[in-house]
Each structure stands twice: as structure tokens, then as C-alpha cells.
């Protein structure tokens, strides 16, 4: 591999690590660690394996066919089918973007003491300005690289000298040691935070923005496998620090301020600021991706010209779509909806709509019109089939568990 390509892969891997966490991943991992110590690590591992396969497929589809996942679903399944996952995605995007904006606002509240609602509009303006003036590469690389600060969770977990035997046992799937409804609710929420529909849409759109082709398939595999794999270490770090700092004191996670303690444990007072900065940067990056993703899916569903790398005048409908998305979601924070509750609720809702989003992948990834000789092999098809089965189970249990254990 040439030096330039190696650098490109390295950048892709680093941005995947830095961009892995978002408000959903932090909240669900912290809740998991605080409530069940290391017992839910296996869920993060399973979710990560699923994500690696899904992201690789989304990238392969875009690189070979030059069509995004949203394009392909509409083209193959028709408007009558596609209107339903699209509408569901709008609802989820609206809530998740609100939660991510809330994450940034909470970070600022932790740093300044000013209530999060007051930060909603300034944060929304900052997100919008970055999208308006920035290019796709700038947004992906700068914000995600800044997100490497979240490696503090991995460092924190190591500094606290975890009981490695217990950690290892946590990777073995097990039933609930206590509070089964809450245990499985968090498990489903972790999966909903990891296997997010927006990943398929955003990653495939990003591959087109970056101009990937068949020559980039190896890079795609590396970024998906290595990037997402190492990225999941950060989420495991959140879970482990919560397990060692919050669980021993019986602290349950119902505010972000409690999650800040996970870094105070290993790093003292600096940990508080480190947490706030990590939360702010990671959620800001997620806001960018979520807002752009709304623009992507509307544009691709209706066949508009689109692209974050285009100037706003070159893609007016696309830019208006993400502008309206940011404005609408900001209202959720302006009126003072609790960001943490909104996060956990939207993760459960994501789980409900996953089957609609993931099932078409099995058809599309075997379509030679799109993928030529790069269609799925038996392993990828098997994994997608398993993921589809898993999403159906999650969809059935998510809302009942929300009531029983949420």
C-alpha cells in the first residue's frame, strides 16, 4: 500500500475512533456499568461486530455503485415501501439530534454552570455555521480527530486497575444477575445506540462524498474493521469506568453530572473537565453527522443534487433540509426536555425501526446491478441474516422493556 493510502487509512481509522462515541453510546454504556458492572460488555462486543459488517457493506455499496444506501433502497423497493423507513427515520433523527444538541449543552452547563436550555440556540448556530461553511472532509476530520480526547475513558479504565478476570467474564453472554427488565432494556438500548440506522445512510453518503471507488474497497474494510473495533474500546472504557466508580457506591445514572464522576475517579478534579470536554466534542461531532444525515436521506430519497462538499448555492434543497432539521431539533432543548431521558428513549425507538432499515440490505448487497462482482459472500449474508433476526427481536421487546425497565 502506498504511503498516501496508508495515511488515508490511518486517518479513516482515527476518525472512526474519535467519532465512535455519541450521546447514546455514552449514556447507555454508563448506565450499563453503573447498574451491572461489567456484565454487559458482551453486548458492546456483539453490537460492534454487527456494526463492522454493516458499515463495510454500506461503504462497499457506495464505492462500487456510486449510489448511497438510501438511493438503493428507494430504487429497488420503490417509493411505496421506502416512505415508511424514511418517515420513521425523520422522527428518530429529530429526537436523536435533539439529544446530541442536549449533550453539547450539558457539557457547557458542566463547564460554566449556566443551565443547558440557554446554550441550545448558540450551539445550534455553531452546528449550522460549521455545516454551512465547512466541507465534508473538514467536518469529518477535524471534529472526529478532536474526538480522540475520548480515549481518556480508556486511559481512565486502565488507571483504575480493573479486575481483569471480571472484565473477561463480562464478554461472555449471560443473563441478568438482577433486575432483568432493566438489564435487557439497557442491552437493547446499547444495541440501538450502536446499530444506528444513520450509520448505513451516513457512511455510504460519506463514501460518495470522498469519491471512493473499487480501488478503495480494502481501505473500506480496514476503516470498518479496525476503526470501529478500536472505537468500541472507547465505549467499553465508559462502561468500565462507570462500573468501577459508580457501581460500588450504588450511583445510578439519571443525570449527566453523575457520568462525569467516571473520569473524576481516575483523574481527580481534572477528570470533571475532561469529561465535559469529551462530551461536548463527541456530541458536537455527532450533531454534525446527524444533521447532515437528514439532508442526505431527504435528498437521496427524492433524487435531489446533494453534497456537503458543494457550496450551499449548488445544493440549495440539501442545505435547507439540514438547516430545518437543526432548527426543529433545537426546540427540544429550548423547552427543557431532559437530554438523558430523551437519549435513552430515542435509543429504544431506534431499536423498533431497525428491521425496516436493515432488512433491505440483504437484497441490495446481492444485486449485481449495484455491486458487480463485489456482492456478498455466504459469511456476509449469514451475518446480515443474523442481524436482521436480532433487530426483529429488539423491535418487539424495546417498547415493553422501556416501560418495565427503562
Amino acid at each position: 500500500m502506498k504511503a498516501g493510502k496508508v495515511l488515508q487509512v490511518a486517518l479513516g481509522v482515527l476518525t472512526s475512533i474519535g467519532g465512535f462515541l455519541d450521546v447514546g453510546a455514552i449514556a447507555t454504556a454508563a448506565d450499563a456499568g453503573a447498574s451491572f458492572r461489567f456484565e454487559l460488555l458482551w453486548v458492546v462486543l456483539v453490537g460492534t461486530i454487527c456494526v463492522i459488517f454493516l458499515v463495510e457493506m454500506a461503504g462497499r455499496l457506495a464505492a462500487v455503485s456510486k449510489h448511497s444506501y438510501a438511493d438503493a433502497v428507494r430504487e429497488r423497493f420503490g417509493f411505496q415501501f421506502y416512505v415508511w423507513p424514511i418517515l420513521a427515520e425523520f422522527v428518530v433523527d429529530f429526537l436523536v439530534l435533539g439529544a446530541e444538541i442536549g449533550g453539547v449543552c450539558i457539557a457547557l452547563q458542566l463547564l460554566t454552570g449556566v443551565a443547558f436550555q440557554w446554550w441550545a440556540i448558540p450551539v445550534a448556530l455553531a452546528i449550522w455555521l460549521t455545516a454551512w461553511l465547512g466541507t465534508f472532509d473538514f467536518i469529518e476530520n477535524s471534529v472526529a480527530l478532536l474526538g480522540l480526547v475520548t480515549l481518556a475513558f480508556v486511559a481512565g479504565a486502565v488507571v483504575l486497575h480493573p479486575p481483569w478476570g471480571e472484565v473477561a467474564k463480562g464478554f461472555i453472554p449471560s443473563g441478568a444477575p438482577h433486575e432483568p427488565a432493566h438489564y435487557w432494556f439497557i442491552a437493547v438500548s446499547i444495541m440501538g445506540a450502536l446499530i444506528s440506522p444513520y450509520l448505513l445512510y451516513f457512511y455510504s453518503s460519506g463514501a460518495i462524498e470522498d469519491g471512493w471507488g473499487e480501488k478503495d474497497l480494502t481501505m473500506n474494510r480496514l476503516v470498518a474493521g479496525v476503526g470501529m473495533g478500536f472505537g468500541s474500546l472507547v465505549q467499553m472504557g465508559v462502561l468500565m469506568t462507570a462500573a468501577m466508580v459508580l457501581a460500588p457506591h450504588g450511583i445510578r445514572v439519571d443525570q449527566y453530572g453523575q457520568i462525569a464522576l467516571t473520569l473524576v475517579g481516575p483523574f481527580g478534579e481534572w477528570g470533571y473537565y475532561l469529561f465535559a470536554v469529551s462530551l461536548g466534542i463527541t456530541c458536537f461531532g455527532a450533531c454534525m453527522e446527524q444533521a447532515l444525515e437528514t439532508g442526505f436521506i431527504v435528498s437521496q430519497a427524492l433524487g435531489w443534487n446533494w453534497g456537503e462538499s458543494k457550496r450551499p448555492v449548488e445544493a440549495a434543497r440539501f442545505t435547507m433540509a439540514y438547516t430545518l432539521s437543526i432548527a426543529a431539533s433545537t426546540l427540544l432543548m429550548v423547552v427543557g426536555i431532559d437530554p438523558l431521558k430523551l437519549t435513552l428513549f430515542s435509543m429504544a425507538l431506534t431499536a423498533v425501526m431497525l428491521p425496516l432499515v436493515v432488512t433491505p440490505l440483504l437484497v441490495i448487497m446481492n444485486d449485481r446491478h449495484y455491486l458487480g462482482e463485489h456482492t456478498n459472500g455466504w459469511l456476509a449474508n449469514g451475518v446480515v441474516g443474523l442481524i436482521i433476526g436480532l433487530t426483529f427481536v429488539m423491535a418487539l421487546v424495546a417498547i415493553p422493556l422501556e416501560y418495565l425497565g427503562g
Binding site: L302, G303, P312, E314, A316, R317, M320, H369
Partner: protein, 133 residues
């Protein structure tokens, strides 16, 4: 016709309309994404043949496939408030070529109602905001 617009296929060529035309991405002479194929119109001739005459683009037509009533309602909203006045735009099928996944159309979309909303938003909203380019 543009120089690089594909020649018509040979007589006897077969086309699967749902797989290869309906909902496909339209790309114009300038390689501009010009919307999706929302409808296909055919004429029943006196000799009993059903001949395809045009493809259509327009949100009301797409939505009518899900619910005719909601589609009509969207068309009514468009007539009242829309830039395209709720109209569905037709492209003669002679100007259409299936090229695998996409559908090429032999026209400049910027000069048609296909990009009416794009033009309106660009001139009335986007250009007025600093940094629009």
C-alpha cells in the same frame, strides 16, 4: 441530442419497467441529479397496444402510489403554495435511456421545472445568507 447520450437500443430489446425505470435516479445532459422517476405513463392505442409515452417526476405522483387521497392533497397544497404549482413534470420516453442503475434524460434539467424548487430556494433564501458561495 447530446453527443454522449446513448443511442436507442435495438428493436426487440426488453425492459423491466419497475426494476429498471421506476424510482430510478434521473441524470440529465450535464450529469446533474434531476430527481427520481415517480411515474410511467402509457397510452392504450386503438390497435390494443399499450405504448409507453413518458416518465413523470413530482411528489404528488409518488405519494399517490401510497395513498391517492394524500397525493391529491399534496397536489392541492402545491397548487396553492408550491413553486411547481403542484404539477407533475413529464419527460417523453424517447428522451429517456436506462443505463444500468440510473436513467439518463436528454435535456438540461436546469431549464425545466425539475429544478424549480432548487432555483427558488437558491435565489430567495440561500443566496441571501452570507457564505452561501
Amino acid at each position: 441530442m447530446a453527443d454522449d447520450f446513448p443511442e436507442p437500443p435495438e428493436n426487440g430489446t426488453r425492459l423491466r419497467l419497475v426494476r429498471d425505470v421506476l424510482d430510478s435516479q434521473m441524470v440529465d445532459r450535464k450529469q446533474c441529479q434531476s430527481g427520481k422517476v415517480d411515474g410511467i405513463v402509457a397510452e392504450l392505442r386503438d390497435d390494443g397496444r399499450l405504448v409507453i409515452t413518458a416518465i413523470e417526476n413530482g411528489l404528488p405522483e409518488a405519494v399517490r402510489r401510497v395513498s391517492p387521497r394524500v397525493g391529491d392533497w399534496i397536489a392541492a397544497l402545491g397548487r396553492r403554495w408550491g413553486v411547481r404549482k403542484g404539477e407533475v413534470y413529464r419527460i417523453p420516453f424517447a428522451r429517456v435511456r436506462n443505463t444500468g442503475i440510473d436513467v439518463r434524460i436528454d435535456l438540461d434539467a436546469a431549464a425545466t421545472p425539475l429544478l424549480a424548487w432548487e432555483r427558488w430556494l437558491r435565489e430567495h433564501v440561500v443566496r441571501r445568507i452570507p457564505g452561501a458561495g
